[in-house]
Subunit: 252 residues, 2 copies
C-alpha cells in the first residue's frame, strides 16, 4: 500500500463563505477525514483504536493556503505520515486541484490516548512496526512548522461563548473545528473584505465540555498576525480560566 | 435520465453529536447537495440559474427520522421532484441504508428568484417543459406534509444570537442550515439525553444578514412539540422583530 492517500472533493455551494470561498472549517473536517481514511485503510483508524478503548486526538494543526478554492472547484487532499515518535505522530497534507495547481499545505500532530485515563500511549509500542512502514519524511511539506505561540500577556477578552449542544462531538468534548469556527467569527465581515486568511495555527492543550464558558483573549502581534488564547471557565467570569487552545491567525 | 437520483454517504466521526448520531445540520446540507446534484445533472442546477442572474431558494423543509444513523453507518439519499407549480416546486427525499432499511424522509419546497429583485419567477415559464418531464408524484413520501405553524402569541425569548461571519453563505444571507443549528442549540444536552429529535419543520420567510440580531421566541405546544419563531432586528432589543423562520421541533 502507498504511503500517500488522496481524497477528492468539490467545493459545494453550501460550504462556502460569502465570497464563495471554501470555508476553513469544512476544509479542516476534510483534513481530519482524509487522515482517518488514510489510517483506517492501513489498520490504525479511529474505529481500530476505539474498539480497544483508545482514541486519536489532534494536538496541533496548521493550515496555510496560497489561494482558497472557490465554489465548484475541485480540491484533492494528499496525506501522509512524516514521522512517528513515542508520544505523537506528524501527519502532513497537500491541498491541490488534481491538475498541478497547489492551493496549500497543512501539518498536524496526533496522539493516541486511553479513553478513560486520557493519557497518551507509546505509539510505536501500541501500533507496532507496521505503522512505521508508512512514514514518508522524504515528501516535502514546504510550509513553516508550528510557531512557538507564547502565553499571552495583556491580552483582552474579545468574546465569550457558552458551549452548546452542537459544539460537542462523539468524544464528548468541544470539536476541534468548532474552535476554528469560533476563532474566525471573532473577525468582522469587513476584515474579511479587506484581507484574506492565509494561515491558521491551532495548538490543542485541554478539552472543554458542555455548559462551560469559552473566553477568547486576543492580542494583535502585527498588522496581519493575531494570537488568541481560548480559555475555559465554569461560569461567566472574565477572570482568566485554563487555556484549552492557543491559536495564531495570519491574514494577508 | 431517471426521475430519481441517489447520493451515497457514510456517517463520519466528525459530523456526529455526542451520541455518535449523524448531526441534523450535516444531513440537511446533504439534502441540499442531493437536490443540487439532481438538478445540475438535469440542466437546472444552481450554476445554471446563477449564470443568468437567478438563484434557487429553499422555502420549506421538513425532515422526519424514525431512526438516526450512527457513526460509520451508510446512508443514501434518493431525491425526486413531486410536482412543479408556477411559483414553487416540491422536492422529496428518502433516507435509507441502501440495503432496505429506511431511516426517514424529507420534503422541501423551492423557488427560483431573481438575484437582484429577490422576486420569484414562474418556474414552468423559466425552466420550460423539460423540467416537467422529471416530476414523479407517483413516488410515495409517507411523512405528514407541512403543518400550518401559526404565528406565536405569548411566546418568550429563549435566546438571542448576533449573526456572525460563519452564519453567512455565498448568497450573502444566513445559511438555512445555520438556523437549524441555532434552533437545536436552544435545547440542553439533558433534553437530548432524555428524548430523540424525530421531526423538524422549517418555514423560511425572510432573509437575515450579517450584524443583525436573531431573536428566538419559543412556545411548548405539548410535551414533545416546540414551536419557534426566529425574528431579525437591527439592535439587541427584546421587542419583536420581523419573522425570518417559523419552526417546529418534535421530540420522542
Amino acid at each position: 500500500m502507498n504511503k500517500v492517500e488522496t481524497t477528492r472533493h468539490i467545493v459545494d455551494p453550501f460550504h462556502t463563505d460569502y465570497k464563495k470561498q471554501l470555508s476553513w472549517e469544512t476544509l479542516g473536517v476534510d483534513l481530519l477525514n482524509a487522515a482517518e481514511n488514510h489510517a483506517a485503510l492501513r489498520g490504525f483508524g479511529m474505529k481500530d483504536v476505539n474498539d480497544v478503548n483508545y482514541t486519536w486526538v489532534l494536538a496541533r494543526l496548521v493550515i496555510e493556503l496560497d489561494t482558497t478554492p472557490v465554489v465548484y472547484q475541485d480540491y484533492h487532499i494528499d496525506t501522509w505520515i512524516e514521522n512517528v515518535y513515542s508520544l505523537f505522530t506528524n501527519r502532513n497534507y497537500a491541498i491541490h486541484d488534481g491538475k498541478g495547481t497547489v492551493y496549500g499545505y497543512a501539518r498536524s500532530i496526533w496522539s493516541t490516548i486511553n479513553y478513560e485515563t486520557r493519557k497518551p500511549v507509546d505509539l510505536i509500542e501500541f501500533h507496532g512496526k507496521e505503522f512505521d512502514a508508512y512514514c514518508a519524511p522524504e515528501i516535502n511539506c514546504p510550509i513553516a512548522p508550528y510557531s512557538r505561540i507564547k502565553p499571552l500577556s495583556g491580552a483582552e477578552i474579545v468574546k465569550m461563548h457558552k458551549v452548546n449542544y452542537s459544539d460537542i462531538d462523539m468524544n464528548g468534548h468541544v470539536n476541534s473545528m468548532k474552535y476554528l469556527q469560533h476563532l474566525r467569527d471573532i473577525f468582522s465581515l469587513e476584515q474579511y473584505r479587506r484581507q484574506r486568511l492565509r494561515r491558521v495555527e491551532l495548538q490543542y492543550q485541554k478539552e472543554s465540555y458542555y455548559g462551560q464558558f469559552l473566553q477568547f483573549f486576543m492580542k494583535k502581534e502585527s498588522d496581519n498576525i493575531y494570537d488568541v488564547e481560548i480559555c475555559r471557565t465554569d461560569d461567566e467570569t472574565h477572570e482568566k480560566g485554563e487555556v484549552c487552545v492557543r491559536a495564531r491567525l495570519i491574514f494577508e
